[in-house]
């Protein structure tokens, strides 16, 4: 495990930070929101493709060099700073990982270059209730002559309102709650029987409910082995949790810096409010939490790239701690800004709204604490 970036990763981080600052500042999210774009942003997608950000974990040649999840984590952290709405998490991380871990050589050959080039975007359609619950999937995939027929309803699927392809988690065996019997399917978003209901979400990134009604897919739409989908899905979700933690780290860092700047400029009672010990100690505690979470995120990202056997534990630590961090910092950001923090014109509210979405994705802090305890044998 290493906490240091390679020279290449350092350059990628620099590029990502500059890009987020100059091209995707928080005013960009405001503009998208105010124009009713609901997080749909083809221009940004094009720029991300030109920068190569979709192919960060995809080598040019099979087995070749790439930036790894550590590299992708730098991009997500940078995007977290400005609350950018992009397809990077769903496409460059989740879909690429699912295909790398479970895809056939033919599927990899077809889709990985299209992901890397930004030609095709994806969305993982998994949850069916209001809470993260991978094993709770009930959507049916029934075998028919040439493939499978899918029926079910997916809730709050990030990016499903603009993705080209869906990765649908469905059940080929057993019932909701069983680990055995899950399968993953590649489904074009415009396939017959797929209906997408776009959602306006609190963070202005948008999402969609997805209904599958007698959707027919061929045999080769299956990623990995039938019934064994959890073997692919679980490591993919661990990576997603780690990537989400990296994004949250960026958001928390930016909200913290904004708060600190306010403490150093706002005056009351003839004093800078940052000179009041009641606020100083809270700021210092946030800083301590930030530093400790940064270590967890870095360790988890690097554990994936090194193929360590404790990725699940580190993913849970990173996601739980980053969720608590962004929760704390976004609340304090609003509180320490006082009345201005309650206005739509100021940014603290945007961080708080996005934070609650980040916290809920890929397992809340409680979900990950529960899993960590289970993995630790109590």
């Amino acid at each position: 495990m290493t906490f240091l970036l390679t020279e290449d990763q350092e350059m990628l981080r620099e590029t990502a930070m500059t890009f987020a600052r100059d091209e995707l500042p928080i005013t960009h999210l405001r503009k998208l929101r105010n124009s009713g774009a609901n997080g749909v942003d083809p221009e940004t997608r094009q720029k991300l493709a030109e920068l190569g950000f979709f192919g960060v974990i995809i080598p040019d040649e099979p087995g070749g060099e790439h930036f790894g999840l550590v590299g992708l984590g730098q991009i997500l952290e940078a995007q977290g700073r400005t609350l950018a709405a992009t397809p990077v998490m769903q496409t460059a991380l989740i879909a690429a990982s699912a295909l790398q871990l479970g895809g056939s050589p033919a599927q990899q050959a077809e889709w990985l270059p299209k992901i890397a080039g930004g030609e095709t975007t994806f969305a993982l359609a998994m949850d069916e209730s209001a809470h993260f619950n991978p094993l709770g999937v009930a959507t049916e995939a029934e075998r028919n002559g040439q493939g499978y027929t899918l029926n079910g309803m997916k809730r709050y699927v990030p990016d499903a309102h603009h993705a080209d392809m869906l990765i649908v988690v469905a059940r080929t065996f057993g019932e909701a709650g069983d680990r055995h019997g899950l399968s993953l399917f590649l489904v074009p978003a415009d396939a017959k029987g797929v209906s997408i209901q776009a959602l306006n979400t609190v963070d202005s990134h948008g999402a969609a409910h997805v209904t599958l009604e007698d959707v027919m897919v061929p045999e080769d739409a299956l990623i990995g082995a039938a019934d064994q989908g959890a073997d692919v899905l679980e490591p993919v979700l661990d990576r997603a949790a780690i990537g989400q933690a990296a994004e949250m780290l960026g958001s928390a860092q930016a909200a913290f810096e904004m708060t600190l700047e306010y403490l150093q400029n706002r005056k009351q009672f003839g004093q800078l409010i940052g000179s009041f010990q009641g606020l100083q100690h809270r700021a210092a505690k946030m800083f301590t939490e930030l530093e400790m979470t940064r270590s967890c995120v870095a360790a988890a990202l690097s554990a994936v790239d090194e193929g360590k056997d404790n990725v699940a534990e580190l993913a849970s630590i990173a996601k739980a701690r980053a969720s608590e961090l962004v929760h704390l910092v976004s609340n304090e950001c609003v509180q320490m800004h006082g009345g201005i923090g309650m206005t739509d014109e100021a940014d603290p509210g945007l961080y708080m709204k996005r934070a609650r979405v980040q916290e809920a994705m890929y397992g809340s802090a409680s979900w990950h604490r529960d899993r960590y305890a289970r993995l630790s044998g109590y």
Partner: protein, 404 residues
């Protein structure tokens, strides 16, 4: 002789392994017992005779202070060699031969600020555990505001004369010598402090143990009444002691964060989850029956992991030459919180089994936890309170201004 790392590190490992195998007595490869910790000094009794042999052999090689210069009795090892020694000692589960404020705090400061004569005089005795040092810092009126200390040190021409009182002096009743902060100028605050050394057997020195809530007495009140100190025992410049004091506090905070915390290396192998399983029980899936406690234990374990990852990250960054300034305060704050949370959870998981004080009827290990729980309350007070740590972070790291 110059040491060529690239060639010789593996050879050093082999030699070290062989030497340790031959020289570390078998009983020194068992977990440390509380009453067998060796603090050295004139009054050391070596309850286990093997610990005396072990200390002498290690000190002979300078390996009680592996990286200190050889000319003062240290091991003269490079950082890489010192790591190898540490790894090889862990491999055979060898005990630390010597616990010592001299090694952890005073020695490093003296090597930096002392003159040649002082280093030659005091450092070898630290390495060999012949002198036990105590720290004269806090006073009844100068705790968190340490620089407000009032113990007077007057220049009497051929000697200094010291009058005043220290408090929270760790093991002053067992120490041979004291390194002490004294006031040599009353007209200024920080710039009127000097750093001085003297023998605890000097006339006019008295140490009285303070009994704590844990029942133990690791600290003393220490009184100085017309104590005469030779002039060559002042370290650095007259009125220049505050710099040395601060540097020494950094050594103290890092040794506390590294796990020094008034114990002999953790409070046993069992964690709160083990006691909770034992005293509360689990369901058919092996989950703790108390779901709320289960969540809080996990929160703590994640905090502890985040803490150790942060220690690793900062060590790696420091090694790569990246800036890791002011991390001592963050780690000291985090270590105190972590250790206190752990002990609260241990006590909670033990239930009434954790509420025994002495005598029969309680598991001895649980009674030890009870005492350590009380001991842990000092973690956020000693070596700079957690509130002072937060002040340091807000002012020096975050750049927040002082209140006018």
């Amino acid at each position: 002789m110059a040491y060529d790392e690239s060639v010789d590190l593996e050879q050093f490992r082999a030699e070290t392994r062989e030497w340790l195998e031959k020289n570390c007595p078998p009983s020194m490869r068992t977990p440390m017992k509380d009453d067998e910790v060796v603090w050295g000094g004139k009054r050391e009794t070596f309850k286990n005779p093997d610990s005396k042999v072990w200390l002498e052999r290690m000190a002979e090689k300078g390996w009680t202070a592996p990286q200190w210069p050889k000319k003062y009795g240290g091991g003269g090892l490079s950082p890489a060699q010192a790591r190898v020694l540490q790894q090889e000692m862990s491999r055979i589960k060898a005990r630390q031969p010597l616990f010592s404020f001299g090694l952890w705090m005073f020695g490093p400061a003296l090597l930096e600020f002392g003159n040649e004569e002082q280093k030659m005089r005091f450092i070898p005795d630290i390495v060999h555990g012949r002198t036990r040092w105590c720290q004269g810092y806090s006073e009844p009126g100068a705790g968190s505001d340490l620089a407000d200390l009032q113990t007077r040190c007057e220049d009497k021409g051929d000697h200094y004369l010291i009058n005043g009182q220290k408090v929270w002096t760790s093991y002053a009743d067992k120490a041979d010598w004291i390194f002490c902060l004294v006031r040599t100028d009353t007209s200024v605050k920080h710039e009127g402090i000097s750093f001085i050394l003297f023998d605890m057997e000097s006339e006019g020195v008295e140490a009285r143990p303070i009994k704590l809530i844990s029942g133990e007495s690791p600290f003393c009140e220490t009184f100085f009444n017309d104590v005469k100190v030779p002039k060559d025992q002042l370290v650095g410049e007259v009125n220049g002691g505050w710099q040395i004091a601060k540097r020494l506090l950094q050594f103290e905070r890092s040794s506390i964060s590294a796990g020094g915390f008034g114990g002999t290396g953790g409070s046993g192998i069992l964690g709160p989850e083990d006691y909770a399983k034992q005293h509360i029980g689990t369901d058919s899936d092996g989950r703790l029956l108390d779901g709320d406690l289960r969540g809080r234990i996990t929160d703590h374990k994640m905090y502890a992991k985040a803490f150790s990852l942060t220690v690793q990250r900062q060590a790696e960054q420091a090694k790569a030459g990246q800036a890791v300034s002011h991390t001592a305060s963050i780690l000291k704050y985090g270590a105190a919180k972590m250790n206190q949370d752990r002990h609260e959870l241990l006590i909670e998981a033990l239930g009434t089994e954790g509420l025994g004080w002495q005598g029969e009827g309680f598991d001895p290990a649980a009674k030890k936890v009870t005492r350590q729980w009380l001991r842990s309350k000092g973690n956020s007070i000693e070596g700079g309170t957690s509130e002072i740590n937060l002040n340091v972070i807000s002012k020096r790291v975050l750049g927040l201004k002082d209140h006018k």
